[in-house]
């Protein structure tokens, strides 16, 4: 089960080499995103797109907010 985390943990995991994935549509990603994040919109999250991610490293997903 995915682990919900807060900002402080995000910063810690990034420091440890985690991968950041914004799952909002491309236009929203282009508008603003966390430094170092890549964009895989939720609707495109399939086996082909996740080939960009390294399976041995933690993955942090995020969108705009909790709403």
């Amino acid at each position: 089960m995915p682990t919900p985390i807060a900002r402080e943990m995000v910063q810690q995991l990034i420091g440890e080499g985690a991968q950041l994935v914004e799952v909002l549509p491309e236009a929203e990603f282009e508008d603003e995103h966390l430094p170092g994040a890549i964009n895989i919109p939720l609707k495109q999250l399939d086996r082909e797109r996740v080939q960009d991610l390294e399976r041995g490293r933690p993955v942090i997903v995020y969108c705009y907010d909790s709403q």
Partner: protein, 161 residues
């Protein structure tokens, strides 16, 4: 949306999946950098003056005023030990210099904006409300600094060039 994405990643075989539930709204509100066409440079947080004076609720107003005289500022924020904004001491209180504590002289609960507020919108707000500045705090109320109308207008012109 992110909980569904996290579950989807797990279903695709990823074992270390975390969900930053509060997302980039939280990140930007904390004053942390954002990249993109509307990244940090277009936000209030990138243009604040962070050397704005602060004092504690139990400081004497006269002492605060003496510090302000030296610094050249005409305002001071009353903050707690975590730098959470409790109030603001403005020109009137500074001019009066009564023998009171800062918490008695302050205007409590000033309106604040987040670092992620769009610069363009903040310039328009200050012009509309005839404000000369806006205090900027993180989402948990900690003082980041002060965004002046002059600085904001100048930054906006720079971004337009």
């Amino acid at each position: 949306m992110s909980p569904r994405a996290a579950s989807r990643l797990e279903s695709l075989g990823f074992e270390q999946v975390y969900d930053y539930v509060a997302g980039k709204a939280d990140w930007g509100s904390a004053g942390l950098p954002l990249e993109g066409t509307n990244g940090s440079e277009t936000r209030a947080g990138a243009h604040v003056r962070t050397d704005v004076p602060t004092c504690q609720p139990g400081d004497r107003l006269q002492d605060v005023c003496e510090q302000l005289d030296e610094s050249g500022w005409d305002t001071c924020f009353v903050v707690d030990q975590r730098r959470v904004v409790l109030g603001r001491i403005g020109r009137r209180a500074i001019g009066g210099r009564e023998d009171v504590f800062a918490e008695e002289a302050m205007a409590p609960g000033p309106s604040t904006i987040r670092p992620s507020a769009r610069l363009e919108a903040m310039v328009e707000r200050m012009q509309r409300q005839t404000l000369t500045n806006l205090p900027v705090t993180t989402s948990d109320g900690r003082l980041v600094g002060l965004l002046s109308l002059r600085d904001a207008e100048e930054a906006r012109r720079g971004l337009a060039d």
